[in-house]
Symmetry: C2
Subunit: 337 residues, 2 copies
């Protein structure tokens, strides 16, 4: 590929706005052509996408973006041309790109340059990218963890949950995770070092399950799912507990979100519940990446991905994520470096 | 009355546990006799009750206490006999007493001595007592108010709400309150100095009402009611807003609390929602009382009570509170000082 060349560009476009359950037919696979050059004076960058993350985040944007547009989402990419001073040709970057082979990124100030390439580049869609920083911020900044705290993580084998659990273990906490299959439960216990884990689909009564694992209550709940699980957790929080929430995956595919009935427990248990959006904490990224890289290199934090080949597999991978059929963080490999 | 005398003691007892709607028949008016003397070595105090507060708090205890017992609740009392070193005969105290003429208080360490008697003693059931401290803590300690913030107070004419609104005005905030009658709305605007107020019972659509009063969003919500109002508020919060909650009066009389559907807004708006119980902040009472007394004496903070004569009127006063038929803080006068 030479700069200025016209190339074919495989894409996944939004066919129509998504309300209610996400279906594969909401997305359409297509091919267009792209001119491999950034317009002069545009401050944009043109990148070749290498990895795209299958995030609940991508789903949540599908309610808002214009049909016909390539789906936006986090990814890792290589800069092919740049009119933005911070990035030059050949740099690797991560941030919000689009589901296609080549993306013109008009606001490159939101992208992060990748300085450490001695770990798999795909990690920057996960443990060293947005989900990792989400885990770090939600756990360390919002939940004020202390050694010995009882920590519960829902959707615990996902991109954020697996990291929260490992951070909590590093802090000397007791950690229990919930997930939606026995395979995931095995992974939590045997790979990520959770003290306990359970398959929420096999529990008749989530309140009873939590009472079994937390007879003394939950000090910290890292909330990823919302709805019924949140209601059961509220019944089992300890006094002065913390709930950090950055997503409620169980709710995204519902026309009307489920009602949460047990909020009175916020008062009786003096609970602080706080929502956050990771982009408000991007200034912590350098600190986070130093912290996490060290533990990855020492083997004290591990990471599991489910890598699918080819951008055309994106829609089905996203559907499988919401169906709970993915173990580890789902990533689409768009091209080889 | 002489120490050691046997006197008749009018009481309001719990007849049966309350689940669902509170009815007057859950309580029973009765007369017993009391020996006006504290058992030696008991560390208790014996008091003559002067004022009893009609608080939502009294209702919430009725689910737990033993039938046949006098209903517990906040009040102002005069010490008749004491085996507790901090209080002596003749002292005025406030704290949790029981709905009867004479109470033996076995844990007097939870009572506060009244030092300033140049304001109405009944104020210590309200603006200078638990509701006032609740308003102070919830607003100043939990909500981080700044000049110019947009503040919404529900149940705004109640014992806590009217004080929150006035504290917010002292801080230079823009304050809107909701209440359940036109009389209360008038009081909020003309007596307590709220910038705006509305009768929520006359609004078809609470979301639309809040959008009318807060076109730029709500920075601080002092939550007293829960349920549908909370759901509407969640749709109208500003980024990084604060919600402090110490009660959800709309929920106490329901068998099953209403579901709250819009919690996803905690994430998108980065909201901190925190429950609290005022007794965790009793150490702030001296600071609070100095602060508030000064404003009362300068006439910058006013206070409205609805005083009913006689302990026998307690049950009906509590029913009227939940029915929304009380303007200002309801207080029962048990005896004259």
């Amino acid at each position: 590929m030479a700069k200025g060349e016209e190339v074919s560009n495989k894409q996944v476009l939004l066919r129509e706005h998504v309300h209610g359950a996400l279906k594969e037919t909401h997305m359409v696979y297509s091919t267009s052509t792209t001119h491999l050059e950034v317009p002069q004076g545009s401050k944009a960058i043109l990148v070749k996408n290498i990895y795209l993350a299958c995030d609940p985040y991508a789903r949540s944007l599908m309610t808002y973006i214009q049909p016909g547009m390539a789906i936006p989402g986090y990814g890792v990419a290589k800069v092919l041309d740049s009119d933005y001073p911070d990035f030059k040709e050949g740099d690797f970057v991560w941030g919000v790109t689009t589901w296609e082979e080549y993306s013109l990124i008009k606001e490159p100030e939101s992208m992060f340059k990748i300085h450490n390439t001695d770990v798999p580049l795909s990690y920057y869609t996960g443990i060293l990218g947005m989900p990792g920083l989400t885990a770090y911020v939600g756990f360390f900044e919002l939940c004020s963890p202390k050694k010995g705290d009882y920590v519960f993580v829902s959707s615990a084998s996902g991109g954020v949950g697996q990291i929260v659990g490992q951070f909590a273990k590093l802090m000397g906490c007791y950690v229990v995770g919930s997930a939606g299959s026995d395979d995931k439960v095995e992974l939590l216990k045997n790979k990520f070092g959770f003290d306990e884990a359970f398959n929420y689909k096999k529990e008749q009564d989530l309140d009873a399950a939590l009472k079994r694992y937390f007879p003394n209550g939950i000090d910290i709940y890292f909330e990823n799912v919302g709805g019924k699980m949140l209601d059961a957790v509220l019944l089992n929080m300890s006094l002065h507990g913390h709930i950090a929430t950055c997503g409620m995956i169980s709710q995204y595919n519902l026309e009307q979100p489920e009602g949460v009935h047990n909020l009175m427990n916020l008062i009786t248990k003096r609970i602080r519940m706080e929502g956050f959006v990771v982009s408000d904490y991007y200034h912590l990224y350098p600190k986070f990446v130093d912290f996490t890289l060290q533990y990855i290199k020492e083997g004290k934090v591990v990471y599991v991905e489910d890598i699918t080949e080819g951008i055309e597999s994106g829609p089905s991978a996203l559907i499988r994520l919401f169906a709970g059929h993915v173990v580890g963080k789902p990533v689409i490999r768009v091209s080889h470096e």
